[in-house]
């Protein structure tokens, strides 16, 4: 027999034996080391939007799906998915969807740049986190700094800075809470939106009236007029009024309007999507030019001075 023939036969048989042996070992291992996975998890994961925003409190959609399958949590925590997603999840798990309302971000400050007093020049890094470390950037130590950490944190382009004040676009906000976690002054909270428009307290300053007047043209002075008008809806939390949203009924427009009128500083605001009447009222006004998308890397977001 020639060398080449033996070599060929040996090579072929070595490979064939190796393939069969490895195939057998892997097949055996696959059965022996089989890990049973709950089939619900995959279905639930497919039903979730996959945005991995973390708004539900879990690290990404797969963690939430696993927690749902184990019954540790409830459907309807997914803010981007909304009601239809909650329904799908409930169908998979065979449970009822509980009545829920979406949560949306609310900025508890309404002072634009010119309304904030005692402002000093700030030449540091253009982020709120850095500016918050410096004393005396502006008089109010509670209010919005207007350097846009929330706008950079928002994946849905809903938060933006308008005239030095963080402003939420409620057509875009999905209530993931990225902005409220980012804000170094903790003035953005998530409010249950029982209606398209919700009344909110638009100030965070806990100081006394004289101190507030010294640093802000519009801040809440803590006069408690609102609490006297609607004691069951509004209570004082320190020097600031707080709305109890459990008792908030969007149908009772008159009660809400009376609170709005009574406030001497007009610190109650309706935020949310505008009503058709509001749109009609500003119809004749010229809209600012549409802002086109500016595709930037995260490195570009870091602005440096000096």
């Amino acid at each position: 027999m020639s060398l080449a023939l033996v070599a060929l036969a040996l090579a072929a048989s070595v490979l064939a034996i190796l393939a069969v042996a490895m195939g057998y070992v892997l097949g055996w291992a696959n059965r022996k080391f089989h890990v049973a996975v709950d089939p619900h998890v995959e279905l639930l994961q497919a039903a979730l939007p996959g945005a991995n925003c973390g708004g539900c409190g879990y690290i990404g959609c797969s963690e939430y799906a696993a927690a749902l399958a184990e019954g540790n949590t409830t459907v309807g925590l997914c803010a981007p998915g909304g009601g239809s997603c909650a329904q799908k999840l409930a169908d998979i798990l065979g449970v009822e969807v509980q009545e829920s309302c979406p949560y949306r971000a609310v900025v508890h400050c309404s002072a634009h740049t010119h309304q904030r007093l005692q402002r000093a020049g700030y030449e540091g890094e253009r982020t709120c986190v850095s500016a918050n470390l410096v004393a005396g950037v502006q008089g109010c130590t509670y209010g919005c700094l207007g350097l846009g950490d929330c706008a950079r944190a928002c994946q849905y382009a809903a938060a933006r800075i308008v005239d030095g004040l963080s402003t939420i676009d409620y057509d875009r906000c999905v209530g993931c809470g990225a902005c409220s976690r980012t804000c170094p002054r903790n003035i953005i909270t998530l409010v249950p939106f029982k209606a398209e428009r919700m009344m909110v307290v638009a100030c965070s300053n806990q100081d006394t009236a004289a101190d507030v007047r010294a640093v802000c043209e519009v801040g809440c002075i803590g006069c408690k007029a609102c609490v006297r008008v609607a004691p069951e809806l509004i209570s004082m939390d320190g020097a600031l009024p707080a709305i109890n949203y459990d008792h908030y009924n969007p149908e009772e427009a008159e009660a809400l309007e009376s609170v709005l009128e009574k406030c001497p500083r007009k610190r109650y605001l309706f935020v949310g999507k505008p009503t058709p009447e509001d749109l009609a009222a500003v119809e004749h006004e010229e809209l600012p030019e549409a802002v086109t998308a500016d595709f930037k890397t995260t490195v570009d977001d870091t602005e440096w001075r000096g």
């Binding site: 027999m1 070599a7 490979l15 080391f33």
Partner: protein, 231 residues
């Protein structure tokens, strides 16, 4: 003592002097792809070290018994077939296909095993293990061992092969962790616009490779130092 010196030399050579990534330029894809953050880079490095050791061990067995010139199995078959004992049956052409085969299957097996018996380890390795199957640094370690299995009088033993694999894996971990550290700092630097991303990463890798060139020739000094130390 001779063998211990040899092993230490092989280790230092694989980890530093002839670093897999920075001297031979193998395993570049994970080196650039998974080097954005130090903790993931370190995890990738550990997974590579683990897999490279296991697959090199298996491949050393196949090399030593089947693939190298003058290996026992082909020699026995050739004798049984009644061939001339002067000529040799050489199966080293099969090295690539068998190595890749062994690496892929062993990674699969390890993944299943870890998933069953150590879920936390599976979670931390999870993404990297399947990626490593196609990492050329691992195939390269087996091929390096094959190079030292050509001469029947001077064969590499299993400890030597394992030391090379371990050194290569640790050298890879070192290189990728250093790279990730530099890239984390780079995120805060004002890099010229055209160089951002892959451009500056490749420039950094090149400068790192030049820095590692400084180790060239160190092995002679290390050898003298070790022999005088261990005598």
């Amino acid at each position: 003592m001779e063998t211990l010196t040899g092993l230490i030399l092989i280790f230092i050579s694989a980890a530093l002097i002839n670093n897999f990534v920075l001297h031979y330029f193998v395993g570049i894809c994970p080196f650039l792809g998974v080097s954005r953050r130090v903790d993931t880079a370190f995890g990738m490095g550990c997974a590579v070290t683990f897999v490279i050791s296991i697959s090199t061990m298996l491949n050393w067995m196949f090399t030593s018994f089947i693939l190298r010139p003058g290996a026992p199995l082909p020699a026995w078959v050739w004798r049984t077939a009644g061939g001339n004992p002067q000529t040799q049956l050489d199966l080293s052409v099969l090295s690539y296909i068998i190595y890749i085969f062994v690496i892929a299957s062993s990674v699969q097996f390890v993944e299943m095993y870890v998933r069953k018996f150590s879920p936390p380890l599976y979670k931390s390795f999870g993404v990297f293990l399947p990626l490593i199957t196609t990492n050329c640094a691992i195939l390269f370690a087996s091929l390096e061992v094959l190079k030292h299995m050509q001469d029947p009088a001077n064969l590499w033993s299993l400890p030597q092969a394992l030391t090379l694999a371990l050194g290569g894996g640790i050298g890879f971990t070192l290189a990728i962790s250093l790279m990730a550290g530099i890239r984390e700092e780079l995120d805060l630097c004002d890099v010229p616009r055209p160089l951002r991303g892959a451009g500056i990463a490749l420039i950094v890798a090149g400068i790192m490779a030049m820095a590692f060139m400084g180790f060239t020739g160190v092995e002679k000094g290390v050898e003298t130092a070790l022999t005088s130390l261990l005598r």
